[in-house]
Amino acid sequence: MIMSQQVRPEQQTAAAIAEVEAESRKEGRRRVAGNTIAFLRNHAPFNKMAADALQHFAERAQIAFYPAGSEIVGPDSGNVRFFYLIESGKVQARQAGEVTVTEYSILSLGAGECFPIGAVTAGRPSTNIYLAIEDTFCYQLPAEDFMILMATSPEFNLFCTQYIASLLDQSRRQLQLQFAQKASEQQTLNSPLIGIGSRSPVTVTPDTPLRKALETMSEAGIGSLVIAGEDGRPVGIFTRSDLLDRVVLAELPLTAPVSQAMSPAPFSLEEHATAYDAMLAMASQGIRHVMVTDAEGRLTGVVSERDLFALQRVGLRQIRQSIDSAHNVEALQQSAGDVRQLAFNMLAQGVGAEQLTQFISALNDALTRRVIQLNLENHSFEGIDWAWLAFGSEGRDEQTFSTDQDNGIVFECADKAALDALRQRFLAFALDVNKDLDRCGFPLCKGNIMASNPQWCLTLDEWKEQFSSWIRVPQPEALLNATIFFDFRPLFGKVELTEAMRRHLLIQTQSNPMFLRAMAHNALDVEPPLGKLRDFLTDLEPDHPGKIDLKKYGSRIFVDVARIYALAAGVHNTNSVQRLRIASQRLSIKTEEINAVLEGLDFIQLLRLQHQYLEGEPGRQGDNLIDPEKLNELDRRILKESFRQARKIQTRLKLDYQVN
């Protein structure tokens, strides 16, 4: 302490020189910044930014000159180190590589425009090559200062976020283009015959007796039979109409060979001919079947008139009509296939994930209702108030292409003595419905969350007590159940019962803050798979290295947070998007903020749909595992941003419920 007071005079003045130098440098920096600010004031979003944010930008932004023809930044420059703002000149943005991931391939930027916002935000190399096409001066803000501005200036943050949101929009359009291509491949009359109609037609040899041929047709349940020689070449076709004209009316004995009754020399086309060729042939020659052969003339398939009609797009109205008028499960199975096809067409036509999942839900609802109606013909519940409930993703209107059943029943029973008998009747009915739904492509629930399980076939009072007990004692299992059963929705029956359940639920949760906190704690267990060094963590699922589970680490995060805010804000809706929209209004969360979150959710859902439809094998339940390496650069970038939105909303939840 004493030492420091005995400073020698020259030391003191040496400090004075250093002070003068520091002061002069500070003044120099201030004046350089003033010069930059004069430019920033004339350009959005800087003209709206607060003075201290502008000062920060201006004191940190370097000024660089790029002569015409020079590259400013590109994929080869490594992770982007600067955010560039053009002061004067012209810069051309060009997609690197051959695949175009945004709708523009070349974009011209002028004074006041910025780049590469997506790359600098993500801290990765630029996908575009930025080339000065005139002598160009740029302000270049180091990436770390860009991040500081993103965190401190809401105006700057909004500007960059909106820019990235417009990228999201572009990527969605790209995705739709891919679907459209696949859809048109599948659907237009230009597709080759190899993919249409029956691929392994039933054949018999020409010397087969008529009786045997007719038996074959009857067994296989087919209306036409191809007659092929030993070498596999088709020599004739025999149809049901031939039976009348050439067998019955011609009094041909059933012991005669089929060759005597067949139409000889059937019309054939090679596999690579198109559906259009087949249609033309049918129209011009008045035939109903076209043989499809390989290059050697051997039969590989048959295309019927009906197959070609099936190529025409299925429409929403027809499907609704066919569902509502279906008289048995077989007809509903056909409709279930049509729902899938129509959903696919809509995806191709550019319907967003939110609308699409709701649409799938709407048709699936109609289908389920019809299955219930058909089964009510065998089970009568006259005079009893009851309702069929949907849970989980079905309850939230968020079904993707492969969703298994999650359902239950609520009913009223005034007479306690009759309760067990009534429950048995509901269980028997539910079992039939569950089985029929399974046949229509809604697999049975592995966790047995189905109305045929006595646990989930309850009276209104039992449901209320069940909800209350979960809320009172938020054990892990109770919390897990809450994530499934609190997303309920009536599909059939008395809606008032479910409204009573909902009111009870909301009152209970709002008077038990500890429960919501426990839910929040639970929802924060899983974090979005963002890496510190790598873009994504792909080793979270030991069984699927290199892949990300988009449901577990993506959409579920949004869904869980939405449920908590909905319960906290007394929102009756079950759909996550609606929950977040309405809850954010009630909890005064900024619209822009929640829109960015919803965009993120929408994108993840769209990727799931794409993955399940484009990559799923027909007849196999699609999964949610995607390999981020296989995404194109833009999708990867947007996926990362979407995960960031998941993290953002988790952080908010953490703050609101003080979970550490």
Binding site: I17, V20, E21, S24, R25, V32, R60, Q62, F65
Partner: protein, 220 residues
């Protein structure tokens, strides 16, 4: 002998200077001169301009000095300096400012427009106040520009005309010293690219080119 001693020590600090300034000057003198055979990209240039009461270094007064470094062909706000000579409260404060400028310049090549004007004022002040013969390596844009940008003009012309020729925004009002320095710095950035293209690819070559162009123009 005496003459030789006087020659050798002519840069010695005047006796009236305080010890700290003397020490600072000594340390500045002992600094190595910036290597000039490096590429432009590796050379730190200091662009400098002044504000004064008039055009004559002999009779008019210096009001302020604005300097900005160009490193790796980039202008960095963190490497700039402004001396408010006009409002220096006392002689020692002014002296310290001048020492600070020397430390900032750190023997880098200095770039300006009309060395005779800028250099004249600085030389007089450094001599009077600190006894320093201020002879930095000058790059004079006034002479270099017509030599390297003959496509725009072959004669020495006012800075505003160059600004217009380069299509740079000259601003509506009169430029301050720092605004002028930053404008010169931008022109200098462009000039570095042109110089590289013509094989004038080191600081030494650029300084030679600057000297030659002014010499040729003055004598022919």
């Amino acid at each position: 002998m005496l003459g030789l001693k006087k020659f050798l020590f002519k840069n010695a600090s005047p006796a009236h200077l305080p010890d700290d300034i003397k020490a600072a000057l000594e340390s500045w003198r002992s600094q190595p001169v910036t290597a000039l055979d490096e590429a432009h990209f590796h050379t730190r240039y200091v662009v400098i301009d002044i504000a004064s009461t008039g055009m004559s270094p002999e009779t008019d007064e210096l009001l302020g000095v604005a300097a900005a470094a160009v490193r790796q062909s980039t202008i960095l706000p963190d490497d700039a300096m402004f001396l408010d000579v006009e409002s220096a409260t006392d002689a020692q404060a002014l002296d310290r400012q001048l020492v600070a400028l020397l430390q900032f310049a750190a023997r880098s090549p200095l770039v300006t427009y009309h060395v005779s004007y800028v250099g004249g004022f600085l030389q007089r002040l450094f001599k009077e106040r600190l006894g320093v013969d201020f002879q930095p390596q000058w790059v004079d844009l006034a002479w270099l520009l017509p030599a390297l940008f003959a496509d725009k003009s072959t004669s020495v012309m006012p800075l505003d005309q160059w600004i217009a020729a380069f299509g740079l925004d000259e601003g509506s009002s009169r430029r301050s010293a720092m605004e002028n320095t930053l404008m010169l710095a931008r022109i200098f950035q462009m000039l570095l690219v042109r110089a590289n293209g013509k094989g004038v690819d080191t600081a030494a070559k650029l300084i030679d080119e600057s000297r030659a162009s002014s010499f040729l123009r003055r004598t022919h």
